[in-house]
């Protein structure tokens, strides 16, 4: 599971109000190289919850992202230093084994072989 996915997911157990962001319990983190696509990153940047991404990247051992969300000029600028970091955090870090933990209930959604299992139990729907 890459952090772009983590940034989209929340705990959706019935009645849960603050199911985002899910805490990452990392057992095994791997890195895979992915082709750099600035257009795609610019498109995605607008949709990202920045704080959640910074925190998630940290829990996976990557602390290069700035604390505060950079403004649009940094994204559009020709200098790709920031985009490269964003690229690495969003697409190249993988949570291979571990769990996503609901901040409200503590419910663990397991991640095995890189696939998060977000299916709810019968009594959680």
């Amino acid at each position: 599971m890459r952090l772009i996915t983590h940034n989209m997911l929340s705990c959706n157990i019935k009645g849960v109000k603050n199911g985002f962001p899910l805490k990452i319990e990392a057992e095994k983190v791997i890195e895979k190289e992915v082709d750099f696509n600035p257009d795609f990153l610019r498109h995605m940047f607008a949709k990202i919850e920045w704080k959640a991404l910074v925190e998630a990247a940290r829990s996976m051992g990557y602390a290069e992202l700035p604390e505060d969300s950079p403004d649009a000029t940094v994204i559009e600028s020709a200098d790709e230093t920031f985009l490269r970091k964003l690229h690495h955090a969003l697409l190249e870090l993988h949570l291979e084994e571990g769990a996503l933990v609901c901040p409200e209930t503590g419910r663990k959604f397991p991640v095995n072989k890189g696939i998060p299992n977000m299916l709810l139990h019968e009594d959680e729907v």
Binding site: N117, L119, E122
Partner: protein, 474 residues
């Protein structure tokens, strides 16, 4: 500019929508104008289409699956004398640049519904001496390709209505489909397959309907073995897939036979994400919207594969009261899932698309239709955020077809839309059994045929209101 667009004689209903979708992708902003040659039926391979430049025509043809060729028409007629007049009256300024002495050319003869011997072809090519070709012939790799296309008046052939009049076309090729993709991607050489893996040709047509391209994010909520996303990835899109069956998305049939390996096999970038979730209660964080450029899927409509949703099979049916999973059994608990009716599945799909697609994003999915309904008006799913732009039917049996629907998001996702979807979601939960019956097409597809002797006597007089062609793909 008008171009002669010649199609392969297959998947007839998918041909014009494919060109229209690609025209949009390559920057054509008006809806396309089509024209038929004189006396031709809509299912003929020969069509004229208006496009704003030769470059667009070439791009469309190259990316398409069903365009045999896109041509600049130099002349047409009902006989070779008429063709000659027509070609001669075509302006020299349009012809001469392609006939220069420093260029190479080739003339090919194509026929539809008839066959010509080699000598007959040669004779026809030699009759074109009135065109001042200055260049050299090069059969392998010419600069310019010319085509002479001929079809005779005929009896009903291959299921097509009879052609009233013979027609001959001569034109310069502008572009053609790269069908080499198909043997490369055909399912029989795919490592990981499921029972409902999408045929490669159809998957490419779906990706074209979705305008899949580089820099875009394409999502399939019923990803299965990933056969649809593979085609979107081939066209450069980033992909993402979800499925409720964890064995399919996570395990496959081993380390080198799973959804990931299907992408690796073709050297395509792996999906951005694969996850297990239930489309009925999706775990998207609140506030997340307009992130996908296209959603492409083949929903489980309960004929070959049925859908499942969370909530517990027996609880949903009402045969047991809601229960709590004991604390010590929660880790590793395998939740029971209930049947997911087609109506609810499509409702959830449209809601997902309304929320998660960018404006002008495309939703492309198959929808089953019972064929005896075809005579009457079929009602396709509707949604206030979407405009239906293409409908292509593929006949699967005498009982039912599947129809590929392409919808474009034209209205933004609003609070009212969200609230309406929430209420409908509760209604489906409340009246689970009623909705399971509604729109259940499995029983109609598999019901035993009524008294067969009666059908035999009636079949001669009873004509199917909708023409159907022989063969699986036509």
């Amino acid at each position: 500019m008008w171009f002669l667009c010649v199609f392969y004689h297959r998947l007839l209903d998918f041909r014009k929508p494919e060109v229209e979708a690609l025209a949009e992708l390559f920057g054509e902003d008006e809806s396309l104008q089509w024209r038929l040659p004189e006396h031709h039926h809509n299912d003929t391979p020969f069509h004229f289409v208006q496009l704003s430049s030769e470059e667009i025509a070439q791009n469309i043809a190259k990316r398409s699956i069903l365009v045999k060729g896109m041509y600049e028409l130099w002349g047409e007629g009902t006989c070779y004398e008429e063709l000659k007049e027509s070609i001669q009256s075509f302006p020299d300024s349009r012809k001469l640049p392609f006939l220069t002495s420093d260029s190479t050319f080739r003339i090919s003869v194509e026929t539809f519904g008839k066959a010509l011997t080699f000598d007959e072809q040669k004779e026809r090519i030699h009759s074109l001496t009135y065109i001042p070709f200055e260049g050299k012939v090069n059969l392998k790799n010419p600069d310019h390709n010319f085509f002479l296309m001929e079809m005779d008046e005929s009896e009903e052939s291959n299921g097509l209505p009879p052609i009233v009049q013979r027609r001959i076309f001569f034109g310069r090729e502008v572009g053609f489909a790269d069908r080499k993709l198909l043997p490369t991607f055909q399912l029989k050489s795919r490592t990981y397959l499921g029972p409902t893996a999408m045929d490669a040709e159809m998957a490419f047509l779906m990706a074209n309907q979705a305008n899949a391209a580089s820099g875009k994010l394409v999502y399939d909520p019923f990803v299965g073995t990933g056969s649809i996303l593979v085609s979107a990835a081939r066209f450069g899109a980033m992909t993402m897939g979800a499925d409720i069956d964890i064995r399919v998305v996570r395990d496959g049939r081993g380390p080198d036979c799973n959804v990931w390996s299907n992408f690796k096999q073709y050297g395509l970038p792996a999906p951005v994400a694969l996850l297990r979730m239930d489309n009925n209660v999706p775990p998207w964080r609140s506030g997340l919207k307009e992130i996908f450029d296209a959603i492409i899927c083949d929903p489980p409509y309960g004929v070959r594969a049925g859908g499942r949703k969370s909530g517990g099979r027996k609880i949903l049916r009402g045969t047991v009261d809601p229960y709590t999973v004991p604390e010590d059994k929660r880790t590793g608990h395998i939740p029971s899932t209930g049947a997911y009716s087609l109506v609810e599945c499509v409702h959830d799909l449209l809601h997902l698309a309304a929320r998660m697609l960018v404006m002008k994003g495309r939703l492309v999915f198959f929808f089953p239709v019972l064929r005896d309904e075809c005579g009457s008006e079929v009602k396709f799913p509707e949604h206030p955020c979407f405009k239906l732009v293409a409908v292509s039917e593929q006949i699967l049996s005498s009982r039912y077809s599947r129809v590929l629907l392409t919808m474009v998001k034209v209205e933004p996702y609003s609070d009212e839309v969200e609230e309406a979807a929430r209420l409908m979601h509760l209604e489906f939960r409340e009246n689970h059994l009623k909705w399971l019956e509604e729109g259940n097409i499995h029983s109609s597809v598999f019901k035993p045929s009524t008294d067969s002797s009666q059908i035999q006597t009636e079949s001669k007089t009873f004509k199917d209101p909708k023409p159907k062609y022989r063969g699986k793909y036509v």
